[in-house]
């Protein structure tokens, strides 16, 4: 009983202390801009805060960081929707349908819907953290390299739905992305791959620069063809989506949020992968969207946004319970915890018991602020799209260049950006989509290192490699799901489903 009272008081700490309240709010506000500007990342912002907040109490520092984290993950979709340049990798999927919405003048309502669904996903994420943290962290530990490999393959199946006109072109683009992801020193053996003897290539193709180039610069080049088109007037009279629209998509958002939590809880997979998988999930399960996917389907922004923001709660799980980062941001937060004299690890919650419920309460507070700030400034943001192209396009290029430079303070990343931009332009012109390329760049390294790790673990014995998929329960379940997903894409599936339906109908009658 006493424990319960204590936990409730820890939970309420950030709601009752006006200073913590303010810091969380400031974090969310600041974070939305960090997220919206390509090249500024939450990882970077939190890292800067480490030396900025080192004299503060740990609660104050954590409150500010939590705010920035939520704001940043959410903010990425704004630029993706408005100018088709994702502000962060987690927002790539949000742009697939968000940008077409902006082209129809619906950017205001699109951002409104992402806000609602982001907050909803965020709350589900915190809920999972609160009730399932120990269980989910133990589950995450059970994931072997071969399971991560299957996760990567699962994500790559999305190529099928992103390929546009011709499947072969999608496969080509996806494989091209994987190949780009392989450039650099092999993380397992440090063998150089496609580095051609250059030190600058050893770090590999920087995927944020690739993202900015493929989406931002190539989009600018495509738009040069439509300079004479009038700018699209954005309808900002109604930002808050109708209740029926929200209600309709809540089931999808719930599923995607949980998906986000699970992917977030896995060390080495974060919001970007969660959002892409959620988009794929939506595309497979939603049979009759109002508008087709890729042309402004509401589902196409609901799914990735709820999963991306939901993944934050998931990323906190292994960090709080085991001291293992769930993604790049939580890796930095762990560093911050050390500097504040805490010892992240399985003992942390025993040594500093207030931390868990304080964090849960604080994350909920951050979600609430997200709902507030998410609806602020939309009108101003939407005006960006109404700027004449002759001024807007060069400005997008400057921001893209600065963003690419800022990732690692390295001018070489600007060259990458331009290279990807020009290649992306020609790919787009000839009917190849750039989505699969970035998918390959993100998932290729995950697939590569985990496939090889799994193979090395069985001493390169392919028979044992295959056998392990059936002997481990986690792998068997994942394999089952994977096979079902692939089957559901073939025409046999419809036939089997039809048989079942008929049998069901007969049984009912």
């Amino acid at each position: 009983m006493n424990d319960l009272m204590m936990n409730i008081s820890y939970f309420g700490m950030s709601f009752l202390d006006p200073y913590l309240m303010f810091l969380t709010a400031a974090g969310v506000f600041f974070g939305i801009y960090v997220g919206a500007i390509p090249g500024l990342s939450v990882t970077m912002a939190v890292s800067i805060l480490i030396s900025f907040t080192f004299k503060w109490g740990v609660n104050e520092a954590l409150a500010l960081i939590a705010g920035i984290y939520y704001g940043g993950v959410y903010g990425g979709s704004r630029s993706a929707i408005l100018i088709n340049v994702p502000g962060a990798p987690a927002a790539i999927a949000s742009g697939l349908d968000g940008y077409p919405l902006a082209k129809m003048g619906e950017a205001g309502q699109a951002i409104g819907l992402t806000t609602i669904m982001g907050v909803f996903g965020g709350l589900i994420g915190v809920l999972c953290l609160a009730v399932g943290a120990p269980m989910l962290s133990d589950l995450a530990l059970l994931f072997a390299p071969r399971d991560y490999m299957m996760l990567a393959i699962w994500g790559l199946l999305l190529v099928g739905s992103l390929s546009g006109g011709m499947m072969a072109k999608g496969v080509f683009a996806g494989a091209l992305g994987i190949l780009f992801g392989m450039v650099g020193l092999d993380p397992l053996t440090a063998e150089p791959r496609f580095t051609f003897g250059s030190v600058h290539l050893t770090a590999g193709a920087p995927y944020v620069a690739a993202m900015i180039g493929l989406f931002g610069v190539s989009e600018v080049l495509v738009q040069l063809h439509e300079l004479h088109f009038p700018t699209i007037k954005q309808n900002v009279s109604k930002l808050f989506p109708s209740w029926s629209l929200i209600k309709k998509h809540l089931p999808l958002a719930s599923r995607c949020s949980v998906l986000g939590v699970i992917v977030g809880a896995l060390p080495g997979a974060g919001g970007d992968i969660a959002a892409l998988m959620a988009y794929d999930h939506a595309k497979r399960t939603v049979k009759n969207p109002e508008r087709p996917f890729g042309e402004g389907a509401w589902e196409g922004i609901v799914a990735p946004e709820s999963a991306a923001v939901g993944s934050v709660g998931g990323c906190y799980i292994p960090m709080l319970t085991l001291g293992i980062p769930g993604d790049a941001v939580t890796a930095v937060i762990i560093g911050a915890l050390y500097i504040h004299g805490l010892k992240p690890g399985p003992m942390m919650l025993l040594e500093t018991p207030h931390l868990f419920w304080f964090t849960v309460g604080n994350l909920i507070l951050a979600c609430i602020w997200l709902a507030v700030f998410g609806f602020m400034g939309i009108k101003l943001f939407a005006k960006i799209v109404e700027i004449p192209k002759s001024a807007l396009l060069p400005m997008i290029v400057v921001l893209s260049a600065v963003g690419s430079y800022a990732i690692e303070n390295n001018p070489v990343h600007i060259y990458w950006m331009l290279g990807f931009g020009v290649v992306g332009y020609f790919l787009k012109m000839y009917g190849y989509q750039v989505g699969p390329v970035i998918l390959g760049i993100i998932l290729g390294p995950l697939l590569d290192s985990n496939y090889r790790r799994a193979m090395i673990s069985v001493s390169n014995d392919p028979v044992e490699f295959v056998a392990e998929f059936f002997t481990s329960p986690v792998s068997a379940v994942l394999l089952g799901l994977l096979v079902l997903t692939i089957l559901s894409q073939t025409r046999y599936w419809a036939r089997i489903a039809g048989l079942f339906k008929r049998a069901g109908a007969e049984a009912a009658s």
Binding site: G164, A175, R193, E226, L227, P292, S390, M395
Partner: protein, 188 residues
């Protein structure tokens, strides 16, 4: 209507790529340069396949070259499929008296694109020697001119203001050190 769509040509392909999945699409003529582009991609894929093989050969199931080989093999095979499909489409429609190259530079890669990319390359190389503010200002002016902006005063004022905002936000709020030239050093 149909004719109008065709005139939109390249732009239509690029922006509506996801929409046009119909069988009819298969019988649309190729864009100028499309076949050449696909052939170039095939050549690139085969080169990548060779380079991937060179990484570690077929030494083991888990060698560093295994996934690169897989990816470039997939690229090579899919390029072959693509070329085969492209060949079954009608050849690009050329307007009277125009060669294939001429219509490529007209529809796919017009002069404005080339100049725009050239200005962008110049910007990249001037960024470090001139510093962020000077080089970006020059770039913004040049690019706006290429895009046909003619309200000079308006343009210069807007560019200066937006650059100042970008610089201040990055430098002070996010402590990102942008390339410094004489102008930035003056303010320090």
């Amino acid at each position: 209507m149909k004719k109008r769509l065709r005139e939109k040509g390249a732009f239509f392909y690029a922006t509506q790529g996801a929409k046009v999945i119909s069988e009819k699409e298969m019988h649309k003529p190729r864009l100028p340069g499309e076949l050449g582009f696909c052939l170039a991609l095939l050549l690139f894929s085969l080169t990548a396949l060779y380079l991937s093989y060179r990484i570690s050969g077929l030494s083991s199931w888990s060698s560093a070259g295994s996934l690169p080989m897989g990816a470039s093999l997939a690229m090579s095979l899919s390029s072959l499929v693509i070329i085969f499909r492209e060949l079954s489409k009608p050849a690009p429609e050329l307007r009277l008296g125009k060669t294939l190259a001429q219509s490529f530079f007209e529809k796919v890669f017009p002069a404005r694109h080339m100049v725009f990319i050239f200005v962008l390359i110049a910007y990249m190389f001037l960024l470090e020697p001139l510093g962020f503010i000077t080089s970006s200002f020059l770039y913004l002016v040049a690019a706006s001119l290429v895009l046909g902006e003619r309200r000079y005063v308006h343009m210069i004022v807007a560019n200066v203001l937006s650059l100042a905002v970008v610089y201040l936000v990055f430098r002070t709020a996010f402590s990102v050190v942008l390339p410094e030239g004489f102008l930035e050093r003056m303010f320090r």
